[in-house]
């Protein structure tokens, strides 16, 4: 994975846990520049996490004959992709110091809505997908507006939405699953392009765009400002409410994208989809170094965090640990990894 120099720089600065700070590199020679860049990469917070992910992959390749097979890698890749879409959106929300607990329910809502639209109403897949995305965006708009205008903490607003969206999907579907999707739709969940699953392509593009938005655009700056100090952001002329609402729309829309892909992957629309995804997404973002207080973090860390969590899940399966126990494991690992991360930062 190539690491963009600029990101690494931002991260070393903001968290202060890099090694020795670098002198102004304005007029240094090329080789020295390369050395600086390398040093930055090595001291960046992401590198530890990256190393852990690589070690885990190596270990799994050694410990299980099934891990490094095309079949398993495709499965894991797809899972990471679907989770990454949600984690990226979650990262946006956490960066402003908020949280979105409703993403899992949005997945269910979208899953049911796309089933209703395509199977029961017979709408063409493109129209159905657009409708489902719009529903997702609408959920975010509601979350964000209540949070921004009524000042109700996002934790509470999205906890309510978690129940509302889940309830809606159960109500609309009558609690049953919907199948019989057109094959063209299933392709986006099950097909592959150049040998790589379509969801992986989509998630990769989304992650790269999100990274770009956060590091290179004014909207990205606004997000960090609001998360770092809302009052100061307001007094710098930033439209704080607009930023907040946008961020929730991003999170819900990405959850909707993930929901559509998952529906296509499983060939069923189901009201039980997406259960517990919020925990996974929050865990991935925080393990990746995004601070729950806002203002610190980024997509690279989130991508690594997501990969780590899903590789561990895969490992549990490959090592033959009962599915019943896996959720407990995941919970322990998420909290443990977050604790480790915080301890590491505090020590610095």
């Amino acid at each position: 994975m190539t690491i963009n120099g600029e990101t690494v720089k931002r991260i070393t600065q903001t968290t202060l846990d890099g090694g020795p700070a670098l002198p102004a590199a304005a007029r240094t020679s090329l080789s020295e520049k390369v050395r600086h860049r390398l040093l930055k990469i090595i001291t960046a917070r992401e590198s530890t996490l990256g190393a852990v992910v690589i070690l885990l992959v190596l270990y799994l390749s050694w410990a299980s004959p099934y891990f490094f097979t095309a079949g398993n890698l495709t499965v894991v890749g797809r899972q990471i992709a679907l989770a990454l879409l949600i984690s990226v959106g979650m990262t946006f929300v956490i960066l402003i110091g908020g949280i979105d607990l409703s993403v899992g329910s949005v997945v269910a809502l979208v899953s049911v809505l796309s089933g209703e639209a395509m199977v029961n109403a017979g709408l063409p897949p493109v129209v159905a997908v657009i409708l489902a995305l719009a529903a997702g965006a609408l959920v975010g708009l509601v979350n964000g507006s209540i949070n921004a205008f009524a000042g109700i903490p996002s934790f509470v607003v999205t906890l309510g939405m978690l129940a509302v969206a889940r309830g809606l999907s159960l109500g609309i579907s009558g609690g049953s699953t919907i199948s019989g999707f057109p094959p063209g739709f299933l392709y986006i969940g099950q097909g592959a392009f150049l040998g790589i699953p379509v969801p992986v392509w989509i998630a990769a593009v989304v992650a790269i765009v999100a990274h770009f938005v956060l590091t290179r655009t004014t909207f990205g700056r606004h997000i960090y400002f609001v998360g770092s100090n809302e009052e100061a952001a307001k007094l710098s002329g930033i439209r704080v409410r607009r930023v907040k609402i946008s961020v929730f729309v991003v999170a819900s829309t990405l959850a909707a994208v993930s929901g559509i892909l998952e529906t296509a992957r499983l060939s069923v629309g189901q009201p039980a989809a997406g259960n517990g995804y919020e925990l996974l997404a929050i865990g991935a973002a925080v393990i990746g170094g995004t601070s729950l207080f806002g203002g610190v973090g980024g997509i690279l860390g989130t991508a690594l965090g997501t990969s780590l969590l899903l590789l561990i899940q895969n490992a549990l399966i490959l090592l033959g640990i009962s599915a019943y126990w896996q959720q407990a494991f995941s919970g322990v690992i998420i909290v443990g990894a977050v604790a480790l991360n915080m301890w590491r930062r505090q020590r610095n």
Binding site: A24, T218, L235, I238
Partner: protein
């Protein structure tokens, strides 16, 4: 028998990534003495005190208390050894009461093991009244102004029977009158045999209170002086390594009295805080708002900037009435605002200095909402240079800078927008003499370029030194205006407090 100093720090070294904050620093404090610690921003004063307080760990060096070498690894250990610290940034729980804050971590318990609020409130009331502080122990700290919160912090420190009270810039947010109360408190401590380490950038206070003065520069001690045998000029020289002749500068060209005011305020009101205030500032003019804390000066500034709701009155920019409902509208009208509380209202502490500087000028450094890294960097370099911030600081988190440099960063943010009206609320709070002179020279310079300046300051000498005109406020009303020539400390104070004095 050899007598040992109460506190002796020897050979202290502290390194942060990229900077050595302290190199071989020694400090000794006798019992019952007030030791002042002075030095430029970033000299390492706070760092040294954090080490004494157990809030930071030295890389090298020893701490001795009454001759005995001790290890202080945590604030708790340091408190247990009788060291009480009042930090530059207050450490209070704003949602709790005054009594709860004073007793935090030491709550008296009832027999059932629950907190004994009655004993706690009685104790707090006694402590506060013995210090001459008029606050109810049940008051919620969040409702108090900064000065009173500071008093609570001091009371909290005194609860632990401290042998040494460390005060890091205790007066930076106090008005003159409140400073007097605090100094009285310090004297009282000294007469009780308590030692005080006192950090301040205000020379007057230092000479009023200190027995000895330790001067620091660039992470090292450059000398220890007896307060009686040294002068402010000597100290400044030791601190900055050069002479500072004219702190506030002088006006080079007269204000055009016929020009349309850049800002005119008529009958401005806002809630209970501001009533019917009127004034105007012309291009190139420096108007100061003087008054006690709570007089409504900051409220006036916030209202003009669109950050507080306007209850009534008119605001005219260049003669045109303006709505100014949000900071954004105020900025579009050409107003810049350096707020009072830089930590909570000014800075993005975790973000790089560069991003802090360009945060109000993003449209300038971006196209189609794409930020140009080059223009971002150039902007930061330009203003870092203009304000005397070292270039290597541009990429570090703003929160790691010393107080004065943090202030310069906020200033840079607004200079980068080239405003026509710049509102400065306590622009030199916690800023060292050298930087203060730099900031005021800068203010003079932009004023001479035609920018109208509205400055709020609680330091009277500063108000008198920089302003062309002074509007004195009291309890939300404008109580009078003075031209620089007719103003004196006494007159301003009399108007600010409403006490009729003979001002001849």
């Amino acid at each position: 028998m050899v007598t040992h100093p109460l506190i002796a720090m020897r050979g202290i070294v502290k390194r942060y990534p990229g900077v050595t904050a302290l190199r071989d620093v020694s400090l000794s404090v006798e019992s019952g003495e007030v030791m002042a610690l002075v030095g430029e921003n970033g000299a390492g004063k706070s760092t040294l005190l954090k080490i004494l307080a157990g809030a930071a760990r030295a890389d090298e060096g020893v701490i001795e208390i009454s001759g005995e070498t001790v290890q202080v690894h945590s604030p708790r250990e340091s408190q247990a050894r009788g060291i009480a610290v009042i930090y530059q940034e207050l450490n209070l729980a704003n949602d709790l009461s005054v009594a709860e804050n004073i007793y935090v971590g030491r709550e008296p318990k009832t027999r059932l093991g629950t907190v004994d609020f009655r004993t706690m409130e009685r104790g707090a009331a006694e402590l506060l009244s013995s210090l001459g502080i008029d606050i109810a122990p049940t008051e919620i700290v969040g409702n108090l102004n900064i000065a009173l919160r500071q008093m609570v912090e001091i009371a909290k420190a005194l609860l632990i029977d401290a042998r040494v009270v460390v005060m890091d810039e205790p007066t930076s947010s106090l008005t003159e009158e409140e400073v007097e109360t605090l100094l009285k408190l310090v004297r009282q401590l000294r007469s009780n045999g308590v030692s005080v380490i006192y950090v301040s950038h205000r020379m007057r206070e230092i000479f009023e209170i200190a027995d000895r003065i330790t001067v620091m520069r660039d992470g090292a001690v450059v000398g220890v002086r007896d307060a009686k045998t040294t002068t402010p000029n000597d100290l400044v020289h030791m601190m900055v390594g050069r002479e500072l002749e004219d702190l506030y500068g002088v006006r080079t060209s007269p204000v055009d009295a016929t020009a349309t005011p850049t800002l005119e305020v008529r009958g401005l009101s806002s809630g209970k805080l501001l009533h019917d205030v009127s004034f105007s500032v012309r291009p190139g003019e420096i108007l100061a708002l003087a008054g006690l804390i709570g007089a409504g000066r900051s409220d006036a500034a916030m209202t003009i900037f669109g950050a507080a709701k306007r209850g009534g009155g008119e605001i005219l920019i260049d003669g045109q009435p303006m709505a100014l409902r949000t900071p954004r509208e105020a900025m579009d009208a050409g107003i810049g605002f350096v707020p009072e509380d830089r930590k909570h209202q000014g800075l993005f502490l975790g973000l790089p200095v560069r991003e802090n500087m360009s945060s109000a000028s993003l449209s300038k450094i971006s196209r189609l909402s794409l930020v140009s890294r080059r223009r971002d960097r150039d902007l930061a370099r330009q203003y870092a240079k203009q304000l005397g911030i070292r270039e290597s600081a541009i990429e570090v988190a703003a929160g790691t800078l010393s107080g004065g440099n943090q202030q310069k960063v906020v200033l840079a943010r607004w200079l980068a927008r080239v405003p026509k009206l710049l509102i400065l609320d306590e622009p030199t709070r916690g800023v060292d003499v050298g930087a203060k002179a730099e900031i005021y020279q800068l203010v003079r310079k932009i004023a001479s370029e035609g920018v109208a300046i509205l400055v709020i300051s609680s330091e009277l000498t500063e108000v008198l030194g920089i302003a062309d005109r002074i509007l004195v406020m009291r309890e939300g009303y404008g109580v009078g205006e003075l031209a620089a020539a007719e103003a004196s400390e006494k007159r301003v104070m009399a108007m600010a407090t409403g006490v009729q004095e003979d001002v001849s």
